[in-house]
């Protein structure tokens, strides 16, 4: 049976009350435009990773995003995410932001390509309206500009 996270979130909520998952007002569905081997893939990671010269995420409730070049050295990436769940990622960002893994799949022809940039944002924000009405559309525009056929959203 898969490990359950909601009971832990509820137990740890304290006086703020439990953090409750929120469903989107509608679930988008777009047909896949072709076989995987023809698709250009983008990564969206909620790890809050950024380049050191990019503005820090202001808080866990920051609904901004950062643009990360596909070839930016992983060793130079930093995060403002304060979660203690998953400190391994700080030693190897690939486990929540698999740019090198994606590049390898491109090289072997499993997917058609990777976008020249990928994107990160802060996970766990309670600002659901801003996520749906601002962050989501902004990232959609970025994905179009990057030529993405498929976006992989990765939780952290």
């Amino acid at each position: 049976m898969p490990f359950e996270y909601l009971p832990i979130l509820t137990a740890n909520s304290g006086p703020r009350g439990p953090r409750l998952p929120v469903s989107p007002s509608r679930t988008a569905w777009t047909p896949v435009p072709g076989p995987l081997a023809s698709l250009r893939v983008a990564l969206l990671s909620s790890s809050g990773v950024r380049l050191p010269d990019q503005p820090p995420y202001e808080s866990p409730q920051d609904t901004g995003y950062r643009v990360i070049p596909a070839d930016a050295p992983a060793a130079g990436l930093v995060t403002d995410h304060r979660s203690t769940a998953g400190t391994d990622a700080r030693h190897d960002w690939e486990i929540v932001f698999p740019r090198a893994a994606l590049a390898a799949l491109v090289a072997e022809g499993f997917v058609g390509g990777a976008t020249p940039v990928h994107f990160t944002f802060m996970g766990g924000t309670p600002r659901h309206r801003e996520v749906e009405e601002e962050l989501g559309p902004a990232l959609a525009g970025e994905l179009r500009r990057a030529g993405a056929d498929l976006a992989v959203i990765i939780p952290y």
């Binding site: 490990f3 996270y5 679930t27 988008a28 769940a85 400190t87 690939e94 893994a101 799949l105 952290y156």
Partner: protein, 81 residues
């Protein structure tokens, strides 16, 4: 994470029962990371509509579920901040 995924429908969702914060596997294991991403993407043609979750069979450590206590400890530590 599957319990959260069930309450937050996505166009297409793939679940792997790895500890939170380690979605694509262990640090320093690029083969596992590539294999996990590959298997997740391979599910794409099997979705027939939105709000579906497809489960990957990968296990973090075979029948050893001791990682669950590690995750609980990590999350409890974060929640106390």
């Amino acid at each position: 994470m599957r319990d959260i995924m069930e309450r937050t429908p996505a166009p297409r969702a793939v679940f792997i029962d790895f500890p939170v914060g380690r979605t694509f596997g262990r640090r320093g294991d690029p083969d596992q990371q590539r294999r996990t991403l590959r298997d997740a993407l391979a599910e794409l043609p099997h979705f027939t509509g939105p709000n579906q979750i497809r489960d990957l069979p990968h296990q973090w450590a075979s029948a050893d579920r001791s990682w669950e206590q590690m995750v609980q400890d990590e999350m409890t530590s974060y929640g106390r901040r």
